[in-house]
């Protein structure tokens, strides 16, 4: 097993962790198999005539936004190491600056319990707050 890549070794070792990041992925289907489709410059994706596109989507951990995972992205993706969740670009930039982890479930809890009147996202908080 020592000559296998690290990831392969990890998935072959029995673990108490059953969580996989991919279990959080949603699904987007754009089916133009029976349609003239959309020009690439209009849709941003190759969804022309006869095409069928299937893409994973994820929800940001700090706000209730879903977004498509760009398979060609080269920049690092946002990630919060406190709640262990992917972040959208807006929340990732805020997290780099203010280091505040305020998961979406906490935002909901605070509104439900009356702690905050309106949703307060981590990205709207300044450093040290």
């Amino acid at each position: 097993m020592a000559d296998l890549p690290v990831f392969t070794r990890l998935v072959q070792v029995p673990s108490t962790r059953s969580f996989r990041e991919r279990s959080r992925e949603g699904y987007l289907l754009v089916d133009h198999t029976a349609s003239p489709g959309m020009a690439k410059d209009l849709a941003g994706l190759s969804t022309g005539e006869g095409t069928k596109v299937e893409l994973p989507t994820v929800r940001c951990g700090h706000c209730p936004s879903a977004y498509v995972i760009n398979p060609w992205r080269q920049r690092e993706r946002g990630h919060c190491f406190k709640c262990h969740h992917r972040l959208c670009d807006e929340c990732a930039i805020a997290y780099k600056i203010n280091k505040i982890c305020r998961p979406w479930v906490q935002v909901v809890d605070d509104v439900k319990s009356g702690k905050t009147e309106t949703p307060v996202l981590a990205r709207s908080l300044g450093p040290g707050i």
Binding site: S23, R24, E25, G26, Y27, L28, L29, V30, D31, H32, A34, S35, P36, G37, M38, A39, L42, A43, G44, T47, T57, V58, R59, C60, C63, P64, S65, A66, Y67, V68, C88, E90, W104, V107, V108, V111, K112, G114, E117, T118, P119, R123
Partner: protein, 171 residues
């Protein structure tokens, strides 16, 4: 706390710019029924019904203006629970396709608000988005921007008729 389906049949979205009131019959608005209501949007589906090529720039977006004086849904549009055993909610979510003499919803133009680009050619195109469990699109409360979302068409293209549904779960 039960899944519901809000649907509309054979409707033509109006190509409308951001932060502009959407005209009656050209949108599907979903918003919180109270200041603390959470709505998880689980699935969005659009099926093109047009008889000729119609690039339609559909978007699911947050609202900077929540509609006022929403009209009750008119058939064949509907909003109902998936399970027949569902109890009525004290504060039902607001689902609307028109307003009566009030203000239509306005799609947010904020660069920090999320949108799902669900464009399709309404001549036979199909778009479906499904969230993973626990990772749904959230609507919280009943005030802008997080308290409402709208399915509508952005400017451009030649909009065509679609059928669509939104599966969601209010809490």
């Amino acid at each position: 706390m039960a899944k519901r389906s809000f649907q509309q049949v054979n409707w033509t979205p109006g190509a409308t710019a951001d932060t502009t009131n959407l005209a009656n019959g050209s949108f599907m608005h979903l918003g919180g029924g109270s200041a603390t209501q959470l709505i998880n949007v689980i699935e969005l589906y659009e099926a093109g019904m047009a008889g000729a090529s119609s690039p339609t720039f559909m978007e699911w977006a947050r609202e900077t203006t929540i509609p006022a004086n929403q009209s009750a849904l008119a058939a064949p549009a509907s909003d109902g629970p998936l399970s027949p055993a569902t109890a009525a909610l004290a504060a039902p979510p607001i689902s609307a396709t028109a307003v009566a003499g009030g203000t239509g919803p306005q799609r947010s133009a904020s660069t920090s608000d999320a949108r799902l680009q669900l464009g399709l050619n309404a001549f036979g195109g199909i778009v479906r988005w499904v969230a993973a469990p626990g990772e749904e699109w959230g609507i919280l409360g009943n005030t802008a921007d997080l308290g409402g979302a709208v399915l509508s068409a952005y400017t451009g293209g030649t909009v065509g008729a679609i059928n669509s549904h939104i599966i969601y779960e209010p809490y």
